[in-house]
């Protein structure tokens, strides 16, 4: 809500945005830099004088990856803080709040890129700021198809038994069939698995050329290490949450040669979009080297939302911001992420990704943004 301070003057008031952070919960390791990125961008934009005369206030709290906590926080944002949009986080809480944000007409940006959020009928207020997990998998399959030499490529899928893990699986299988890639095996590895020997040995029997991993860092590292131990030759390719700086120290040598889907830039990449980030960090006396990819991801997400506010005719209401967002066309993010477009009947901003390979203990991006 807003309190107009000066009639007709430049300052219009404050727009409140609610945010759900995971700092102390199960995904706190990635949730924290993501939250920092979001907060950083909002602070940055306010230091630039806000948007169209509006200041933006981010009310965000830790929900520890617990859905009931997310519910309670949402309740508070909606009725006491009277926020106009929400920056969310995980798959489950995004699902849990989907109907409510629809009823309350609040645009919702989550860090979970589930394909079913694309469904405009069921989730008309959810926006996807990066390629959905399914799109990521499709793009990877497309890349495999195009770069594989010698016969039909054989691919295995490794994921976990959660909404997050299973989200791209059916779509990947359908798409593989369509383009002529053979899915030879599926393995389930728990997010907290200590060991994946049995799954990998079973997978080995099918001798896949590639294995697509939909996991977080811990499980991905377990898989890579066990694969190395068992001498498995398969090329592992991880979707965006399997990829990131955090994987490298855990997996150690085993990460060499691993390919990851990159939806958001690494801080060490030299890209036009980094300028703003550097400027902000300099003003805080911090350095880009201390930040990681999840920070950039949070930054970009907040930036897209702010762009929607900028474009909105009525930036003070959720409905107004939604209309503003739907005007976004080919938003150039300076290479920090793929350009985003929203329309009234498409809230999936992009389907493009890049790929990076681990060489000498660092992710090296080796493609440009591409889709399927």
């Amino acid at each position: 809500a807003t309190e107009p301070t000066k009639e007709g003057g430049k300052e219009q008031g404050t727009i409140k945005i609610g945010a759900l952070f995971d700092i102390t919960g199960a995904t706190g390791d990635v949730g924290t830099p993501y939250a920092e990125g979001e907060k950083a961008y909002i602070e940055y934009i306010n230091s630039k004088g806000g948007i169209n005369g509006y200041k933006i206030e981010l009310v965000g709290q830790d929900y520890a990856y617990k859905i009931p906590e997310a519910q309670k926080l949402y309740q508070k944002y909606k009725s006491s803080d009277k926020v106009s949009a929400i920056l969310g986080w995980g798959t489950a809480d995004t699902e849990a709040l989907r109907q409510q944000v629809t009823a309350d007409e609040l645009p919702f940006f989550s860090a979970s890129y589930s394909e079913n959020l694309k469904n405009m009928k069921e989730s008309p207020y959810n926006f996807l700021t990066a390629a959905s997990y399914s799109d990521q998998a499709r793009s990877v399959l497309r890349w495999i198809k195009e770069n594989h030499t010698g016969g039909t490529p054989k691919v295995a899928l490794i994921y976990n038994d959660t909404a997050f893990g299973k989200s791209p699986i059916q779509d990947a299988k359908d798409f593989a069939k369509e383009i002529g890639v053979e899915i030879v095996d599926e393995q389930i590895v728990d997010l907290k698995a200590l060991d994946a020997t049995s799954q990998l040995l079973n997978m080995k029997k099918k001798a896949p050329d590639y294995a697509i991993i939909q996991q977080t860092w811990g499980a991905t590292a377990t898989i890579l290490k066990d694969a190395k131990k068992l001498g498995i030759e398969t090329q592992f390719i991880g979707l965006n949450w399997a990829t990131g700086e955090g994987l490298l120290p855990i997996a150690g040598d085993a990460a060499e040669g691993f390919i990851g889907v990159v939806t958001h830039a690494f801080p060490y990449e030299d890209l036009p979009g980094m300028a703003e980030v550097k400027e902000y960090l300099a003003s805080k006396g911090e350095k880009l080297e201390d930040k990681n990819q999840k920070f950039i991801q949070g930054w970009v997400t907040a930036k897209i939302l702010v762009e929607g506010i900028k474009q909105a005719d009525d930036p003070t209401s959720g409905e107004g911001i939604r209309q503003g967002l739907e005007k976004i066309k080919d938003l150039d993010l300076g290479g920090l992420a793929a350009p985003v477009t929203f329309t009234a009947d498409n809230h999936a901003g992009t389907n493009q990704i890049r790929l990076a390979k681990v060489e000498n203990g660092q992710f090296k991006v080796f493609t440009d943004y591409f889709g399927y």
Partner: protein, 355 residues
Amino acid sequence: MRNPFVMQCGEFHVDYKQDMTIWKIARVRWRIVTIVALFALFPMVATDCVVGLATLCGIAAIGAIGLNILTGFTGQISIGVGAFLGVGGYTSAILTTKLGISFWIAFPLAGLITALVGALFGIPSLRLKGLYLAIATLAAQVIILFVISRWDSLTGGTAGLVLSRPQIGSFTFMSETSYYYLMFVVLLITIVFSLNLFRTRVGRAFIAVRDRDIAAEVMGIDLFKYKVLAFFVSSFFVGIAGALLGHYTMIVSPELYSISVSIEYLAMILVGGLGSVFGSLYGAVFITLMPVVLRSVVDVLSGTFPGLEAVLIGMKEVVFGVVIILFLVYEPDGLNKIWSNIKNYFRLWPFSYTK
């Protein structure tokens, strides 16, 4: 004329029926009516946010009373409440969304089906006791969640199901206040039912099974039957709470019913007081609100000390734990005992002891 300022000092009952009412003294009865009325009127003055929290507290209280029937009154520790909440939520979700049955029928059915599932997983109580039984309920938790996340065609798998708020005619319980009243009625019924239960035959048998099972058996109580019955009754209320919660949040998904939910409920009845209906209520409110309160404190403080946010978030957990421990140290029998100690103190005042 009776002095209006003093509490009636004794019980003057002329028949057993009177002696056996729950609240024996007229003034106490009036007080109860007043309290109920206050709670009924409270949404009129409170904000949506507060009413919403109250609704969550109330739903948790129903579940906690259910768990207390099993754990507090019958002495069978369960760490599977989370999954039973899920069974309730899913039953109602499947019945209303997939089969198009009205909420008003699906709701009690959710309780009933959860009760049956509960009874099924209560069968190990034939042989198991204490922590060993607790692990069997943990197994129930794992198995139920596995089934839910695998039976895609019925449960929507890991993505869960979306459900809607109940309706009467054209009225939908969409607003916070209306759902609060729905919860409130169910909660009242739950409380009265369980208070009654534990002053009659079956409730007494539950307590007997908890305190001395061998003696109970020799008194003619069929241990197995009553243990499973306790699972049944307990799960019924947990299922009801699950359904209420499902329709309130409008989603059911496996991640909502994890083991940490089970532990949270256990915490409610332990903090509130094992084997106490009102204790469950206090515990549910306490455990539900405590994080909210702490979070707002953190919010205020981190405004004042911006650099310390990370520390404050950690402190939130520390304080939460410390408060629980302090409660237990100060009164291991829970909030309910604290409350009755306060009452006793004033009852005896100015004398400090009896006998």
